[in-house]
């Protein structure tokens, strides 16, 4: 019997139909992958199942009964726990407090039993084979550990269905393996798991069944072993397998490089990154590779002036510059699409149009304004160019899906016509189709003479797209490969040391 079943779920948002009659079922003791492009309706479906939104039509059955959860807490009490892509915990509370929040063990007098709380927290973490000091603040641990703490918290309640929304996007390979071990163990125990990810390998590694959504509609549910990978991608983006092969073959590296755009000698910052040389030419795509925390993003932050350098010099187009604030970098036509979209990217309550024009307006200053018509034309142009899925540029950006928000941010920086574009994990948490689009776009920009610095934890992407790769380990530059030498093997070797 199905543990969870949805029938004809529909959801309408301000004139956009996000879901159109979705039937979906999960059995106990299976890992069920929910796949689809950005904006396909995965997150919306999950949010309806867990009571974040009410459905416009249709019904949800859990354990054979029709359920109308009014809040995630409601769903949690019924036995549905969710771990979201962005860690939704309280960074300034301890790990133990986070795990037990809302269900603290009590002493006889009704006070919180702090000792017991730590014991419970340790027990919950032990289930995931994690051994950390549960008294420390959550924020003192890496995002990966925080993610695992969130999962431990979800498991701590009496949980029959666990929903993991992009749990692996901030984990490194070993952590992902650990997580999968845990997932398989939970499956043995008879728990149902809904697993959302954009990593196709991972889908096949753990999933029993795969359900695919496209444009808010159900494409179908399949046994994982009966669905070849290329066919799954084809179903997700609504193209035939042949067309996809063509798309992937379409990436042609630019080989003609112009003048040096940016050059830094020995830039570093105490406690952040050891002095490093970086230079990049027009039309060149420079990759920064390394494990999470190896100093990739830190270099980007230093170049962009978010964390000013305290040693070394930098030149932009032959002129000596000192980027000690993003303003200066923006005015010198440097652009950074930073790692954490929610924190450093979008302005949630502004419209798409305003989000797109923001960086250009910032570089112009307060007085030189664009007319509303110019702004609208600009928004219109990028919505079309980057295929941003929205009814209009006047929609608030927070109503868009993650991938479309990312496209808006790309539009924001393209509008400033940058000479140097830094992309920090631009493909994280977005789907195959959008990924291919972004890769093709950066190649095209390079062809037009833009210099691009590309940071990604997916080595295949770095190897496939970059003309030169700087490899980092432990916040130091450990090597550089260029041209023909760029291969997965060489880069891996340097990373491993």
């Amino acid at each position: 019997m199905d543990l969870l079943q949805t029938k004809g779920i529909e959801k309408q948002f301000l004139g956009v139909k996000a879901l159109k009659g979705v039937d979906f079922a999960v059995k106990a003791g299976e890992i069920h992958a929910l796949m689809g492009e950005n904006g396909a309706g995965k997150s919306t479906l999950i949010k309806i199942i867990t009571g974040v939104y009410p459905a416009s039509a249709g019904s949800v059955y859990f354990n054979g009964k029709e359920c109308k959860f009014r809040s995630p807490l409601d769903a949690e009490h019924a036995g549905i726990s969710t771990v979201y892509q962005e860690v939704n915990l309280l960074p300034d509370l301890s790990v133990a407090e986070n795990i037990c929040i809302g269900r603290e063990p009590r002493t006889k007098l009704g006070f919180i039993d702090k000792k017991e709380r730590k014991v419970q927290a340790r027990k919950a973490l032990a289930r995931l084979d994690i051994d950390i000091n549960v008294g420390e603040n959550l924020s003192s641990y890496s995002i990966a550990i925080q993610q695992l703490v969130a999962i431990a918290r979800a498991l701590d309640v009496d949980c029959k269905l666990l929903i993991l929304d992009e749990p692996t996007s901030s984990l490194d390979e070993n952590e992902v393996k650990e997580l999968f071990k845990v997932m398989k163990k939970l499956r043995e125990e008879g728990m149902a798991i809904i697993f959302i990810t954009h990593f196709l390998d991972q889908v096949y590694e753990v999933s029993d069944r795969i359900t695919i959504l496209r444009d808010g509609q159900l494409v179908g549910s399949y046994d994982a072993k009966d669905l070849p990978r290329i066919e799954m991608v084809a179903k997700m983006i609504g193209k035939t397998p042949d067309e996809i092969n063509q798309m992937q073959a379409g990436i042609v590296k630019n080989t003609k490089f112009g003048e040096t755009v940016y050059e830094a000698k020995g830039i570093g910052r105490v406690g952040t990154i050891s002095p490093v040389d970086v230079s990049i030419r027009e039309g060149e795509q420079l990759g920064l590779a390394g494990l999470l925390g190896s100093g990739r993003s830190e270099i980007a932050q230093i170049i962009f002036g978010v964390d000013p350098h305290d040693s070394g010099t930098m030149t932009m187009c032959g002129k000596s510059v000192n980027f000690n604030s993003p303003q200066k970098a923006v005015k010198a036509k440097v652009a950074l699409i930073a790692e954490d979209r929610k924190v450093t990217g979008i302005i949630p309550d502004l419209t798409i149009r305003e989000n797109i024009m923001l960086a250009l307006q910032a570089s112009k200053g307060i007085w030189k304004t664009m007319t509303l018509k110019q702004q609208e034309e600009m928004a219109e142009k990028y919505i079309k160019l980057l295929r941003i899925k929205t009814p209009s540029g006047e929609q608030l950006i927070k109503h868009l899906s993650g991938g479309n928000q990312q496209k808006v941010l790309i539009a924001r920086w393209l509008a400033t016509n940058p000479k140097l574009l830094i992309l920090d994990e631009p493909t994280r948490g977005i789907d195959v189709g959008a990924k291919a689009e972004i890769e093709a776009l950066t190649q095209q920009l390079c062809g037009e003479g833009m210099a691009v610095i590309f940071i990604s934890s997916e080595l295949e992407e770095v190897v496939r797209d970059c003309d030169r790769v700087i490899v980092l380990r432990d916040r130091k530059k450990v090597g550089e490969v260029a041209g023909e030498d760029i291969s997965l093997k060489n880069v891996m070797k340097l990373i491993a040391g």
Binding site: V306, T344, G345, I347, P348, L350, E354, Q361
Partner: protein, 415 residues
């Protein structure tokens, strides 16, 4: 949904509340809406301050405790008198009239006009406060800054009147501009100080502005040497008592401030940057916006607005009372802002909404006075109305109420 309806949606509930309040007055308060056109005797000069028991010569210092109560009493008295006079119960209003000189010789007279005049202080404050709150900050020092502005203006005008200050030679009809400018500059500097603490040193806004809220009245006392300084300079008194183009001059000050800051925020990118910084400061910085400078600037503007409000307050009662000028008005300004639809969390802001909020608050206060509610307990009914307005604005509350009605209606339908 079309654009224009979106643009004014935030105004709906404050306006509905205001309309309800006015409706209440229309029914229960006699002659509330009666507005007369009065002719001002052009030869009549500005009279001495009408502080009860006032035998002192303007420009001299008098005992603070005496006037503190008197000033409050006067406001009540003024509100009542307006009604009485417009009801025609009093003879020859010109003789008693305290409203100062008027351009064109004619002006409108009545309770609604009085509300606008008395509400001008909070309206001016609310303009600056809205910008600060939009950046996610708050400025609780504006009341104290008003006292400072009033104090410096009164001190300078008394020195000028006595002839021992540069510029006294220009004559009283011109030199009043000096204290006005001095007060605005000093208040702007106070705003600069607040901005420095908040944006420059990253101190939490509530704490940073608390410093000046507490110390500001002390500074004002220092300026006036602990005394209440009265004045009768026609220029200074005109600010809040004079009339121009049929309306109190203070109303035109509000209009001017609204137009200036409306244009500054909406015709430049300043407003967008404020909203962006208030909504996500870090992302704004990453987008190349000088977030600190933007925040700093809003505090400077807020200080300037507080200075203007301080001048209006001093002009209104023709004296600078460091202890009571602008007392608790910061709270009214914050309330007006929130009622007007600007979120305390920062982000989108609505200057027009804040003005409506300020008018709503003043209408409420005036209604209380006219209904003979003692000034001591005015806060209670005021709080109740504010709660109602805030509830009306809350989508959650509206949805709950609607669902109750809907379920009742459904039940009724079945029966």
């Amino acid at each position: 949904m079309n654009k224009s309806s979106n643009k004014f949606r935030h105004l709906v509930w404050p306006l509905v509340s205001l309309a309800l309040l006015l409706l209440f007055n229309a029914i229960f308060t006699d002659n509330f809406f009666k507005i007369e056109v009065k002719k001002q005797d052009s030869t009549q000069s500005v009279q001495a301050p009408s502080v009860p028991g006032d035998s002192s010569v303007p420009g001299t210092a008098i005992d603070p405790t005496e006037v503190a109560a008197a000033a409050a009493a006067e406001e009540v008295e003024a509100a009542k008198q307006t009604v009485k006079e417009s009801a025609g119960q009093q003879a020859v209003p010109e003789k008693k009239d305290d409203k100062g000189v008027s351009i064109f010789g004619y002006y409108l007279y009545g309770t609604p006009i009085d509300i606008l005049n008395q509400g001008s202080k909070v309206m001016v404050l609310a303009i600056g406060m809205t910008l600060v709150i939009a950046t996610g900050g708050i400025d609780i020092s504006v009341g104290a800054v008003m006292a400072i502005a009033g104090a410096i203006a009164a001190l300078l005008i008394s020195m000028l009147d006595a002839g021992n200050c540069i510029g006294a030679g220009m004559g009283p009809s011109v030199y009043w501009i000096i204290p006005v400018l001095a007060a605005l500059v000093l208040a702007t500097l106070a705003g600069f100080w607040n901005g420095m603490l908040v944006a420059g040193f990253g101190i939490q806004p509530m704490v940073a502005t608390l410093v000046l809220m507490v110390a500001g009245r002390g500074v004002a006392q220092l300026i006036t040497d602990g005394q209440i300084i009265t004045f009768d300079n026609p220029g200074l008194v005109f600010l809040c008592n004079g009339h121009a183009l049929f309306l109190p001059f203070s109303v035109w000050i509000v209009v001017a401030m609204y137009v200036i800051f409306g244009l500054l925020t909406r015709k430049t990118a300043f407003g967008l940057f404020i909203e962006s910084v208030g909504n996500n400061e870090r992302a704004s910085r990453y987008a190349g916006i000088e977030a600190r400078r933007i925040k700093w600037l809003t505090y400077v503007i807020c200080g300037f607005c507080a200075g203007m409000a301080g001048l209006l307050a001093a002009s209104n009662i023709k004296c600078a009372d460091s202890n009571n000028a602008g007392l608790n008005l910061e709270l009214d300004a914050i309330l007006a802002t929130v009622i007007g639809g600007t979120s305390m969390a920062g982000g989108r802001f609505f200057l027009s909404g804040s003005l409506v909020g300020a008018i709503l608050i003043q209408t409420l206060t005036t209604t209380m006075y006219m209904k003979n509610v003692s000034p001591a307990i005015v806060a209670v009914p005021k709080a109740m109305v504010v709660i109602i307005v805030c509830l009306l604005q809350s989508p959650v509350f509206r949805a709950k109420v609607l669902s109750i009605f809907a379920s009742k209606a459904a039940k009724g339908g079945v029966q």
